[in-house]
Symmetry: C2
Subunit: 344 residues, 2 copies
């Protein structure tokens, strides 16, 4: 266990910290040579499923990059396999699901998941990481949020217009409800099991929810995300993350979370103002800004810190995951800049 | 010429109208059988380039769907060909550009365009449509905005992360400026020539600008879009449209336009409030909502009209183009619902 006063954990509670803590989505990934070497030998799913490898990858950026929190090396979709779907990774355009869910009957066929038995390798990896970290940095667990998992199940992969997902919402509201309730229960159980195994905070990724209007979000998503968050072990910080949701922030905040994760498409000050200063904010550098020269990266870090205004409760992050082509040195520049420029 | 008090033109000036005018982006397109029949015989570019065919398609939705404005059947990228690029349509994932612009030297090689000579077929089509409309409905001309054209030129097609575009911005700001100035000049000339040929309003499509942070928008886009709009013939309404820009609306409004077009990812009342009630607003039904049952479509129309609050200056539209699989009957339902439910 990490000291509860660790800057990351303190920031989640909106307490003052000596500097702004920083971690990065996909901080252990293809932009690191060490990762690419492992990936040359094992498939992505193999890396997720072998606790010793997942733990090794999770730990990579702690020393190498200097981030203030570890996030388990895993995938937001892992929960879908024990529900009875066939997931295919390593396709050109991201994970694909065979036999997508398209009807009430398909929803009924999805299994109720007991993550403790079916995803045991995740909890084993968490235990290994916790032991190896030995309190140096807290470990974040995570899952996809109900909408993002539902849209993957229904579309069978990424989507531009989410037509199948929205059709199910509009034409079969009862099937939609059944699906979202099932997912909400499974996600809560899964995250609680991660917490029991040693995760000291959890992030809920609603990566694709930005395709919805605020009215559809309120009606078709908010109740289920709220139920998921409400079912989590009290006292463990929850980061509620999404992208492309500048117009949805008040609704997303209503669904819950101690910290709201935003992307770069809204200014940090405006985003924080809109979710309210009684929650923390995570973000929000454009991942592509890491391709800029180091001076420009530092300038942008300063701008974001300036917009946070030194208020407690800011966790620095990108607005989405580190991109594979990102220069490692630039990521290190970013983390150093956050620490230096925010030192109080 | 249409009566200047036509509801669409009056709404552009934020004057009271007997009902809320409605037109739809891509209102003449693959969702219509008549269009698919033509498309079976001609390539997309052929349809754009043959004035009699482009005019015929432009007119299709006026009688069939009952919309209050015609928009020229054309493409936002047409201006790129006379600049010296090779455009390929009919690929699987949208238009592709061979030899994308990646450096200052590439920018220098782009030709200054004289649209009057190189895109004469566009103006001929406008003349034909104007004559055929005979004042029944105003005709809207359009072009891609500087950023959207620049990103197409640089990425060579659609993009997920716009890495090449942002790299040029960050590493070669002078080349970026030269490119945006060249595009801004060409677009203004092109739109003014459309106006001279008979277009009674113009829409500037900044379809992909939602990938930027507000700070990048201000620095790298706003001055050029503003210059484009400022160079247009005074008195002709300008609709400034973009998607995924809920966090950019104040900046977009600053760049100009009599009417700001928004998508469904922000509530109409919130979006209008953020751009200010001293400009008009266009939008903002989710195109996928047209797949919902007719009663649900009417309910959503009522909700959007309600959010507009009967204020003059609302032009009803989708948040993006009509999708190819959309049922024609649902589009007719939408247009009727707007007219009926907004009748004052």
């Amino acid at each position: 266990m990490t000291d509860p006063n660790h800057p990351f954990l303190a920031a989640c509670r909106r307490e003052k910290t000596p500097y702004t803590p920083v971690w990065l989505m996909r901080q252990a990934g293809r932009y690191m040579e060490e990762y690419r070497k492992l990936r040359a030998k094992f498939s992505f799913l193999d890396l997720c499923r072998r606790p010793e490898l997942a733990a090794e990858i999770t730990l990579l950026p702690i020393d190498r990059i200097g981030v203030d929190a570890a996030i388990l090396f895993s995938d937001i979709l892992l929960l879908l396999e024990p529900m009875g779907t066939e997931l295919e990774y390593d396709t050109e355009d991201g994970p694909r699901i065979r036999h997508p869910v398209r009807s009430g009957a398909d929803v009924e066929r999805l299994a109720e998941v007991d993550p403790e038995t079916s995803l045991g390798f995740v909890f084993e990896a968490i235990q290994k990481v916790s032991a190896a970290l030995g309190g140096r940095a807290p470990l974040i667990g995570f899952s996809g949020a109900p909408f993002t998992l539902a849209s993957y199940l229904i579309e069978g992969g990424g989507s531009r217009h989410y037509i199948h997902t929205k059709r199910l919402m509009y034409f079969e509201p009862e099937s939609w409800r059944a699906l979202m309730e099932r997912l909400s229960r499974a996600i809560a159980r899964y995250l609680n099991a991660q917490i029991a195994a040693g995760a000291e905070a959890v992030q809920l990724f609603d990566s694709w929810v930005g395709c919805l209007s605020p009215q559809d979000y309120e009606r078709y998503v908010l109740p289920y995300t709220r139920a998921t968050i409400a079912a989590l072990k009290p006292g463990v910080p929850v980061i509620h993350f999404s992208t492309g949701t500048a117009g949805l922030l008040p609704q997303i905040r209503t669904a819950g979370g101690n910290v709201i994760g935003i992307d770069w498409r809204v200014s940090l000050d405006e985003g924080w103002g809109r979710v309210g200063y009684d929650v923390g904010i995570q973000g929000n550098l454009d991942p592509v800004a890491l391709f800029a020269p180091p001076d420009e990266i530092r300038r942008r870090v300063a701008d974001i810190l300036n917009r946070a205004g030194g208020r407690p409760g800011h966790i620095f992050n990108l607005g989405h995951g580190v991109l594979p082509e990102t220069p490692v040195e630039h990521v290190i520049t970013l983390v150093r800049a956050v620490h230096e420029l925010s030192a109080r």
